[in-house]
């Protein structure tokens, strides 16, 4: 079974530029999560999708971050414009359903904003 795929693995941009991350969850997983992990901290949930609908985006900085999950499969997370404090690892995870607590994580995208 293929795991959660993410790209790119690394990205370096200057502040005020825009960036996008892509995630392909495990086949058949209805729930998809985007997390932000700042160095020295645990992952923090940014947004959660159930199929292609948003379940929770309470911690997503909506003035600069946006996310979509078209057709209930792949998802993209965008930051525009980026700030220095957005430097972090962005993790995508998926689970069979929102009631299944076991989440499978991708390798993450390490973003550096200079």
């Amino acid at each position: 079974e293929a795991g959660v795929a993410q790209s790119p693995r690394y990205k370096i941009i200057e502040k005020r530029q825009s960036v996008a991350f892509w995630c392909n969850p495990i086949s058949g997983h209805a729930t998809l999560y985007w997390y932000q992990q700042i160095l020295g901290q645990g992952p923090k949930l940014l947004i959660q999708f159930q199929n292609n609908g948003v379940v929770d985006d309470s911690q997503l900085p909506k003035d600069r971050f946006s996310a979509e999950r078209l057709k209930g499969v792949d998802s993209t997370l965008k930051i525009q414009p980026a700030k220095l404090e957005d430097s972090a690892v962005y993790l995508c995870a998926s689970s069979l359903s929102g009631q299944n607590y076991e989440q499978y994580f991708g390798p993450g995208t390490r973003l550096t904003v200079t």
Binding site: P43, L45, Y101, P107
Partner: protein
């Protein structure tokens, strides 16, 4: 606010000995707890979990203990092996929250020969 806390950022243990990782939480609504393990440049992987209706769950070398009155859980690894060297995250969830997890900051475990 940090509702899940791992107060020990690092732990060093000798191979073959027991590793004990601790986690405290503040939200009494949490009813499901998980431990994840993370190697460098990889995403976290699920290790073991426990429901609030239990006080112990065991899976091979890994045992999780839950003390609800103290709002405390711990992960025991016996015996510790070099491959256990990783960052361990404690996570918790509230029922009917669509599986939303709150993570602690993690504990770096180093197993020495």
């Amino acid at each position: 606010d940090q509702q899940v806390k791992q107060n020990s950022p690092s732990l060093s243990v000798q191979e073959g000995r027991i590793s004990i990782l601790n986690c405290d939480y503040t939200n009494s609504m949490f009813d499901y707890f998980l431990w994840y393990k993370k190697y460098p440049a990889e995403g976290p992987t699920f290790l073991i979990s426990i429901s609030s209706i239990k006080d112990k769950n065991e899976d091979g070398r890994f045992t999780v203990f839950l003390n609800k009155s103290a709002k405390h859980l711990s992960l025991h690894i016996v015996p510790s092996q070099p491959g256990d060297s990783a960052v361990y995250f404690c996570a918790a969830s509230v029922a009917d929250s669509w599986g939303k997890l709150q993570f602690g900051a993690g504990t770096q475990v180093v197993v020495t020969p």
